[in-house]
């Protein structure tokens, strides 16, 4: 079994339901995120459009975080999920530095690394991840990539030419795919980040884990 995720960006409407469901399900502390939806506005007024991109751990086949973790706190489960053992983590932040997707953070409460686990605890009980359940438009598609009859495999087959991953040049082989993505949505360098121009919060730096 190789679990994977696919997000159809054509369907995503940026409601952030997945983000909130993840926060609640996993008790993610304030100022930290396992899953977030990034808004990027493209074009010049009046010819503008807004894009929405859910971003989470990519559960890479060749995960840099698993490789750099000195104590194997980050480890693979048999179903392909890159899981984290917070009791073992020493908080060196090597994984935070290694992850090319910015998907790992230091939990300010436990002072250990944390990230999306595809809701491994729910999956173990044959439940879908919280974000999948919460999505009102079924933009999040989750399942076994090795099973050709699974929804995600079928979706990939139907959209073969349009399936993308983030930063393929890193050689991480992500198990997280996007349909309908483009450079603006998937490449963080393809958009400006301007302080004070965000809708609800300043895009600025926060001390994480009590450190600057």
């Amino acid at each position: 079994m190789q679990l994977g995720f696919l997000v159809d960006l054509h369907l995503c409407m940026g409601c952030k339901g997945c983000e909130i469901a993840c926060k609640v399900e996993n008790e993610v502390p304030l100022s930290t995120w396992r899953l977030r939806v990034k808004y990027v506005d493209v074009g010049n007024f009046p010819e503008t459009k807004r894009t929405f991109t859910p971003l989470r751990c990519n559960h890479c086949e060749n995960a840099p975080c698993e490789r750099i973790c000195p104590v194997s706190a980050l480890h693979y489960l048999e179903n392909g999920i890159v899981n984290i053992d917070k009791e073992r983590c020493i908080g060196c932040a090597g994984c935070v530095m290694a992850c090319p997707y910015g998907a790992i953070y230091i939990d300010p409460q436990t002072q250990t690394a944390d990230k999306c686990t595809y809701c491994a605890h729910r999956v173990a009980s044959s439940m879908m991840p919280a974000c999948v359940v919460a999505c009102p438009v079924q933009a999040n598609i989750f399942g076994d990539l090795e099973d050709p009859t699974s929804n995600i495999s079928k979706y990939i087959q139907v959209h073969q030419g349009g399936v993308q991953v983030r930063k393929p040049e890193k050689g991480t082989n992500p198990h997280h795919y996007y349909v309908g993505g483009g450079n603006v949505t998937l490449n963080p360098l393809a958009s400006h980040r301007v302080n004070g121009h965000s809708l609800f919060n300043n895009i600025t730096t926060l001390p994480i884990g009590g450190k600057h």
């Binding site: 074009g43 750099i68 090597g94 998907a103 980040r193 301007v194």
Partner: protein, 299 residues
Amino acid sequence: MAHEILAATNAVVTLDVALPGIIWPWLVTVNMWAKSIGTGVIFMLFMLVRMHPNEVAKLRLPTAIVAFVFINIFLLFTLADLHQPFRMWHIFVHSNWTSSITVGAWMATIFLGLLSLLALLAYKKEDVKFDKVLLWTTILAIPVTLYTAGLMAQCTARELWQMPTESAQMILAALLSGSAFMILMGGNKLSEEAKNSLGVVLGLSALMAFIIYMAEYIFGPMKAEEVAAVLDYVKGDGPYTVMFWIGQWMTYLLPMLLIVLSRASKSESILKLAAILALVGLAIVKHVWLMIPQLLPMS
């Protein structure tokens, strides 16, 4: 590539979480700086034993102690940087051997053991045994110096550090700081010739490190757009431009000039000034190179 697209799309992030900021702070700078000195003085002692064997009698014990102290500083700051420092022992009981951190922790521990042995042998004035152990300590000092480059290369997110030049810079930093510290520590224990040898090592390592930094500065952006974006932080009115150039001048350019001057005027004071500048500047150079890739948004 991205900046050309940016001009066409005028894409702006209008809602996102805050950027995480600096993950590895100045503690890691001190870690790298102290390790360079700790291994560098061992390299220099080994060189002096080979080139000027009659002059190292009074340097064996001080060098072993200096290396011991700086490797302990390195380990202390490594520990201080952990968010869970009391779980440090997990590295030794749950070792993940694909991690440079694990490999480095084990090697540094063995290295510290050898340094303790060297200090003991120097204290007992057992020079023959000391020199034999010094050989193995010097050999181990090479991977201890290099493992940080391996660790930085494992940071897949930070393209700037994933260059082969990083390994060369680690060794050059050790040679530079080791020779500088030895010049300051040697004082009247060393002859003019020995000081000249150390000055040559300091000057050449400064020259080579500077050339590599400049090559990365100029050619790095051709490698990848991430490198180009990161190097923008040390170009123009970038947030680290001033610090970058202060570091380059203090660590490399001024010491090179001062070493030439000291040789021409046979002035030990000028040589010592070069050594001090190189030691202080190295911390600045390392700090800039540590910080700038962390400023780049990853997603």
